[in-house]
Each structure stands twice: as structure tokens, then as C-alpha cells.
Symmetry: C2
Subunit: 519 residues, 2 copies
């Protein structure tokens, strides 16, 4: 599909005839990307609707809508003249200010990613993923890796081809090219030493933390039921405290919590259980962290590539900063304990800040990543990172995945995986075609620790604010140093500007030792 | 924007080189229209969301999304090769069956409507309408016609131009061309005698009905409050009884009730008042009639033009058939009365079927169209039809609208309009650019009467079913004779096949006399 620009003869774009001045070339690109942004916004709302509102019988029709809109966005992006316009605008970028130049750089990156992959490969991958996700749901339930194997093998083969195609266009290795899709500028060479440093410490840290736990008296359980209406009310109250703007967003219920929606309309979801309010509440705070980033994007740039969040590591850092760094801190729990006790009319020592904090920082190695605590979670990620890297590179064969997975879990978590449902079949990422995504979770945790440390050092009111449920100082620092910067700089530049150095494992390691070993 | 078909050289489309067989030409059109249908489905969900779920601060962003998607659909439809493909497919239409031929005819009609209007006229009209709607909200509140006048004059001028442009392409008068946008094949020459016949009878009928009402004892009011949860429950119960499929639809709340959503996902809304359950309940039944039509469209054709509902008169006939013909019948009210009495724990003679039926058929001339009863409603439409016809033709000047409007209301309803808020400023249609829409309401009422009469004559179980709350026989007749026919035939052909004759005013007049004069 051609763009919305009027059709013109070959060579017409660059003609220096006064019609297409340099700024007009740039403006026509802005217009095109704004259109793409609106299509993606529409997709965001339709996907939110599918998870929260849509009647079951509408699934096929919704798939048609999403496929059509995704196709249209792709066609607009990879229109024959996009590359030409980008090259032309790039020649004259000295006329542009920092924001415009950064916008052009992001346009270029997005265009390269999209145009690198031939249409038939996109389609083949999309079809393989749909099928493989379907089979995965059954395979996970029965623990039948053999059932999934042929489909997963095909998804992997197509991911390798996509990595190669993108890698060629971006001058990157296939795995780096996949990483770059989720996190611009992220490279294996950056991750390897960070994860090696963390991996060397984790098994000992996990064991020590567990031993230290045993020295305390037993955790007092919080006994429900906790009415859903009360849970929603306190969730919304804390969302407002953190800074969620309900004029441009909503909270709803879905099977799998997420942060989605569209520009100026950020929709987060949670899932309630009457037996346990803490899990939904921490989930809401996690998604609120994501939402705060989205709502903090500068108005003027929201429909342009430079106005998008900086990548998945930075996005995850914002959710983990709110959930893990801020809301599981001693300071915040002092404020939270009486609030939840009052909300749920709790009584007794189980509702003390001390007990609540111990619930929120309990360490217990388990098989399932999404149920993991702060300290064992990175171990799950290290397992997956090592294996997907090897699979993409061809150093590990897909049929050997289960044994390799179980061996890594044994090494890092000290657990013996009893079946593949609790092992390599638990996550949707690989059958779903999201290769290169897993490391961003733990890079996000590291980034969160480093940003939070810098924030607290810059403003002493941040921690004291949290002990009163006041997020204003923290939010102001995040707005100024992260949210408002969107994609103006690279991730590294942003981190250096905000914290004085690029990403390190050190601050996160220190945080874990302080919180879980008390030193 | 070009279509999603690969670009090809001029003349390539028709080349008889074996690549583009006749069937392939037709199939490529089907594919294009299916894509357009998916975009329109997405628009339907986004519009529903805007009325029911969207936070207020997202309005601008949603406007961008809708404008972008509408633009994309328009560009796909009016792509340079669409006309060529249609002409080519038409040459070979002897190879196609009835459904395919009818689909081609509908494609042609939609294409002519869309391509007849130059892009700058579409845009000018869209801008004028946005502005005019905004001013209208204020003008209606204050009754200030002068405030709206310049904007309304501009909307009218642009509607005249659109009517001329479409009229030229379709070989129709401007007003007929506008009518045809909402109701394919509808012409002023058809409406004039029908409305003249009705208009001659209405004032007398309204007066007689009121006099007859006085002969009975006073209507007993139903006293609330009626809890919203109970209202929703009984609404959903009756929706199911009528045949609404909740697997492919929802019921929600919005300020202005509507039937929207998308293919296989029909979403209706209502608005509750604790003081009066009947208005919301009848509103739900009205929208359920619309929904039943949408849900009854044949699966295989839902994304093609031939699979769309036949036009606004037929659509309105389906809502009025359920609400007015079926659900305000003596038979159904016999079933409804004990049901609502039980639901709301009502007591006393106010809850008798007789009193309920009198509430549901109360006649009282008023200023506001949307509050009008079955018998005064057509008078409101006749006023608007006469005036918009004259305005489009240039026989009435826009500044003379208020006095002309008030004069017509006096003649048909016997009322003196005290201010323009209760007069020509009450409806959004004219400032909103929906000229040629009003007559479909009363044509729908006539169609409903004619279809219902034919249905009851064809199957005696229909009326006896209603007295037991059983809509199965009625639904079966509607499915067979209306819903499943979608746009396979013209409206006239459909009516002749279903009722033995084209639309007449006679059956509707008889229905009104029977119900309101008892003869």
C-alpha cells in the first residue's frame, strides 16, 4: 500500500522545486508516523477490549480486525517512498533540533526493523506462532513437550531467519537483532557480563536469605476473605497516590494482568482473589508503574517515535521501581499496614508493618517464574537467557531444551523440575515468538535499583514521602529524569544522565543484600 | 493510498494472460471489501468504547484514531483501480450467482457514493460538522438559533454540494442522492405520497386518540424506586427471550442508547432511571430489535457489502417491530405485567396488564421527538422531512427555519413552540450533517407494521407466542424473511417477497387506528 501522500512520479520526492523543502520532507514523515501511531492506538484499545469486555463468540472477527490494522500499519511504514524520504531528511538533519533529530533516528530504526523482514517471512512467522500458541496451551496442561516440539522448532527456525534478516539490515548478530526489537541498542555483549556477575552471586544469596528467614519467628498469615469491592477501592486509592491519572486511564479485570490501551488512555488490569489481596494489590502497583511511564510521555511527542517509551528494560524498570523498590520498602509498608488493616478490618499481629514486610519479602525458590519473589526471579531469567541465546545461535538443539532447562534450574535454584509443565513449557514467550524478550525483565530490575538509589540520593524527601504514602517527590524525579525523556537519548545516555553511569549489576546486588541479608 | 494488491502497470488488471481470470478479479474485490469491513468493525468497537468506557481525557486521541481509520477505509475504497476492477467484474457477471452479483451491485453503489465526493469536500464537510455540533450543544441549551445559524448554513451548503456531486454520479436529484446514502433506492417520489397520506390523517387521529383516552379511568402510575440491578436483570432476561445472543454481544450503559459494535459482536446500550423502569426496558427492547437484525446476518457474507443490513428504514423497522408491534401488543403485555410486578415486587391495580398497556400506549403531543409516543412521533418526522427537503432544494432559506418549523408543529401537533430548544434546535441530525436521515424513522414504522401484519398472518403462533413471552415463531419469520436476506434484494423486492406488496401507508394507518381508536 502506498502512503496517504498523493501519488507522484519517480524522482518527484527529492525535486528541489520549492514544493518539497527540507522541512516538508520531515513533516511528511511526521504525518505518516502519526497515522501509524493512531492505528497502533486503535490496536491497543481493541486488544484491551478482547481481554476485558469482548464476548467469546467475537474472537474470530476480532482477529480479522487486528490482522487488518497491523497489515495497514506495516504497509504505511514500509511504503516504497518511506526509505527515500528518510534518506532525504537525514541529509538535511542539521536543520533540525535535538528532538526532531532523535525522532528521525527512531523513525529510521523502526523502518529498518520493519522493512528488513520480507512480507512472506512475516506471514509465515505469524501463522506458525498462532498454531504454536494453540498447541502450547494443550502441551503445557499435559506436560507434553513432544506435542509442542515440531511447532516450537518451526517458530525457532523462523525467528532465526527473522534475526538474520534484521541482523543484515542493522549489521548485528541475529540474537542482537532480536534483542533490538524489544530494547533499542541492547546487545548480548552488554548483558553477558551483567548476568555473569549476578549469576555468580545468586545461588549463595538465595540460600543465605532463606537461612536468615528461619531465624525469625514464623510469618503470620493474613486470613480472608477479602471482598473484591474493598480490594478495588484500595487499589484505586493507591493508584491515585502513586500518580495514575484516571482522566486518561482505567483499571479493569482480566485473566492476565497487563498495562495497555492507547496514547492518553492507559488501561491497566488485575485479577482478584478473595483469599489473597496482596497479590492483586502488588500487581496493580506494578502495572501502575508501567502506566505512570506512559502517562508521563510529553504530550507534544506522543504520536511520534521519539515520544515512545525507551524500550522494554526501561519500561519494566518503571513497574519494578514502583512495586519492588518503593512499595516493598520498609518505609512504604509502615504506611500500608494500617491502611490495609482498616480497609479489611484486620486484627492482631499479622497486620503489623513488620509481619507485612516479611510477607512482601518472603524468599522461596519455586518452579514458576511469574510466582517468583524478587530474589529468585532473576534466576529464572538467567536460565531462559542462556538457553534462548544458544537456541538462536544453533548451539543448542530444540529437542534438547527440556533437559538443558532442568539442568540450569537445578544449578541456579537448586530445584529438580518434576515435569515440563513446571519447566520449559510454563511460559508463552517462546511458542509465542517473543525471543530476545526475557532478559529485559532482569535488566529492568537492575535499572530500577539503580534509578531508585539515584533518586533517593538526589532527594531525601522521597523515602520519607513513601512512609506517608506520598509519592510526589519520587514521581517528580521520575518525570524529570525518565518519563519526559522518552526516546530522546539511548538507554545508556538516559541512565548516565539520571544516575551518573551506565547500567551496572552492582546497585541491584547491593539492594538484594541489604533487603534480604540485612547488610 | 493504493490497495493492498501488488502495484502493477496500467492495463495489467484486465490482461487476459491467465493470471487475472474473471473470478480472480471478483475475488480481489471481495478481499478489498473484507478489509474495509474489518476497519469499519474496528471503528464500531472504538465508537462503542467512546460512549461506554473511555475516560474523558482520551477524547482527542480517540478522534485521531477514528479519523485515521475512516481515512484508511476511504482510501482503500476509492483506490485508483477499484473502479477499473468493478467495471471488469461487471462485464463478466454472468459467471456469478445471485449472491455474488448482488454483492457486486452493492460494491458498485458504495464505490459510487464514496468516489463521487472530492476529498476536499469530504474534509470541509467533516470540519464544518465538528464545529457545528460543538456550537449546537451550546445553542440548544440556551435556545440561541442565531448562534448556530452561520455554522448550520455552512453544513447545509456543503450537504447541498455533496448531494449535487453524488447526484451527478448516481443520476439523482441532490436530496435523492442524500436519501440513497442512508437507504439504498429510497427516493423522494416514493416518500411524498406515503407521507401525504399519513399527514392527512395524523392530526385527526391524534385528537381522537386523546379524546378516547379521557373516556377511561385515569392511568395508575408505577411508583419506584426501581433498583438498577433489577432493571438490568429483567432487561437481559427479555433480550434473551427475544433472541439476543450474548455469546456475540453485550448490554451496557451510555448517555444515549444505541446499537453498535462490530460483526459478530453487537453491543447495545441503555440508560437507567430509578424512577422509571419502563423507558429503559422499552429502550432495551428497541435496541434488541436492531441487534437481532445484525446477529441474523448470514455468517458467510458478514464482511461483504451484500451481507450488510438493507438500509436505515429496514433497520428501524426491526427495532420498531420488536418494541412497538410486538412488545406493546396486548398479547405481550399480558405476559409482561406479572413479570415486572414480580421483579419489582409491585402491588395493586397499577400493575395490571390493562393499566400497563395504557401506560405503554399513552398519547400526548409534546415538543420533543425522542420522547414522543407511537402516534405523535410520525408528526415530528413529517415536519422535519418537509423542511429538510425544502432547505436542500433551496426553496427555504436557513434563517427562516425556526418560523417554518414552528408553523409545521402547530399544524401537525397543534402545539405552539415556546423556544427553539424545544423546536428546531432539539436534534443533532442537521448540525451533524445527517440530511436525508429523518424520513427513515417513519418509513421504518410503516415497514414494521406491514412486516408484523404479514408475519402474524403467515403464522398464528406468533401472537400466541408473545402472550407467553415466546418470541421463537416471530424470530423464525424475521430470520427467514428479513435478516437472512440482508442486501440480496432491493428494499422493495424484499418487502414484496415478505408481504406481497411494496411499502404502503395503509397497514400502519390501520394499526394506529386499531390500537389507539379501537377500530
Amino acid at each position: 500500500m502506498q502512503s496517504h501522500l498523493a501519488p507522484r512520479k519517480a524522482g518527484g520526492i527529492g525535486a528541489k522545486d520549492g514544493v518539497h523543502t527540507k522541512m516538508q520532507v520531515y513533516r511528511s514523515l511526521e504525518e505518516r508516523f502519526a497515522r501509524i501511531s493512531s492505528i497502533e492506538d486503535a490496536i491497543g484499545i481493541l486488544q484491551w477490549d478482547a481481554e476485558t469486555m469482548m464476548p467469546e463468540g467475537a474472537a474470530d472477527s476480532r482477529s480479522d480486525q487486528l490482522a487488518t490494522l497491523k497489515g495497514l500499519a506495516h504497509e504505511l511504514l514500509t511504503a516504497p517512498d518511506t526509505g527515500e524520504l528518510l534518506a532525504l531528511a537525514d541529509q538535511d538533519s542539521d536543520q533540525l533540533d535535538d528532538w526532531h533529530r532523535a525522532n528521525l533516528r527512531e523513525m529510521q530504526r523502526i523502518y529498518l526493523h520493519a522493512s528488513a523482514v520480507p512480507a512472506d517471512l512475516v506471514e509465515a512467522s505469524s501463522r506458525a506462532v498462532s498454531k504454536s500458541e494453540l498447541v502450547w496451551r494443550e502441551a503445557r496442561q499435559t506436560g507434553d513437550f513432544a506435542l509442542l516440539l515440531p511447532h516450537l522448532a518451526q517458530v525457532l527456525a523462523l525467528q532465526q531467519q527473522i534475526g538474520q534478516a534484521k541482523g543484515q539490515a542493522l549489521e548485528l548478530s541475529p540474537y542482537d537483532a532480536l534483542l533490538d526489537s524489544y530494547d533499542p541498542g541492547l546487545r548480548q555483549a552488554t548483558i553477558d557480563p551483567l548476568f555473569a556477575e549476578l549469576g555468580a552471586e545468586l545461588p549463595g544469596l538465595i540460600q543465605e536469605a532463606q537461612e536468615r528467614q528461619k531465624e525469625f519467628s514464623a510469618i503470620q498469615p493474613l486470613n480472608g476473605p477479602f471482598p473484591v469491592d474493598d480490594q478495588r477501592r484500595i487499589g484505586e486509592q493507591l493508584m491515585k497516590a502513586v500518580g495514575f491519572d484516571f482522566r486518561q486511564g482505567r483499571l479493569d479485570v482480566s485473566l492476565h494482568p497487563f498495562c495497555g490501551g492507547s496514547t492518553s488512555d492507559v488501561r491497566i488490569t488485575t485479577r482478584y482473589s478473595e483469599a489473597n489481596f496482596m497479590s492483586a494489590l502488588m500487581g496493580v502497583l506494578h502495572e501502575t508503574g508501567h502506566a505512570l511511564y506512559e502517562q508521563g510521555r510529553p504530550e507534544a511527542w506522543r504520536r511520534q517515535p521519539v515520544g515512545l517509551a525507551r524500550g522494554m528494560s526501561m519500561h519494566e524498570s518503571q513497574s519494578l521501581l514502583i512495586e519492588m523498590q518503593a512499595c516493598r520498602s520498609q518505609e512504604f509498608v509502615t504506611y500500608l499496614a494500617p491502611l490495609v488493616r482498616e480497609t479489611f478490618q484486620g486484627e492482631g499481629p499479622a497486620w503489623s508493618p513488620e509481619n507485612l514486610h516479611r510477607i512482601l519479602t518472603k524468599v522461596e525458590p519455586g518452579f514458576i517464574r511469574v510466582d517468583a519473589d524478587e530474589i529468585t526471579y532473576p534466576a529464572h531469567i538467567l536460565v531462559r537467557y542462556k538457553l534462548e541465546k544458544a537456541l538462536i545461535a544453533g548451539d543448542l538443539q530444540i529437542q534438547d531444551l527440556p533437559s538443558a532447562f532442568n539442568e540450569e534450574v537445578r544449578k541456579l535454584l537448586g530445584l529438580t523440575v518434576p515435569n515440563d509443565s513446571l519447566g520449559c513449557l510454563q511460559d508463552i514467550h517462546w511458542p509465542g515468538g517473543a525471543w530476545g524478550y526475557f532478559p529485559t525483565y532482569t535488566l529492568g530490575a537492575m535499572t530500577a535499583a539503580q534509578l531508585f538509589r539515584a533518586a533517593c540520593q538526589a532527594d531525601a524527601n522521597i523515602l520519607s514521602g513513601l512512609s506517608k504514602g506520598d509519592f510526589t517527590p519520587l514521581r517528580a524525579w521520575l518525570r524529570a529524569n525518565v518519563h519526559s525523556k522518552v526516546s530522546l537519548m539511548t538507554t545508556d545516555q538516559l541512565l548516565v544522565a539520571a544516575t551518573g553511569r551506565p547500567l551496572t549489576a552492582e546497585v541491584f546486588r547491593t539492594h538484594l543484600r541489604e533487603r534480604y541479608l540485612g547488610r
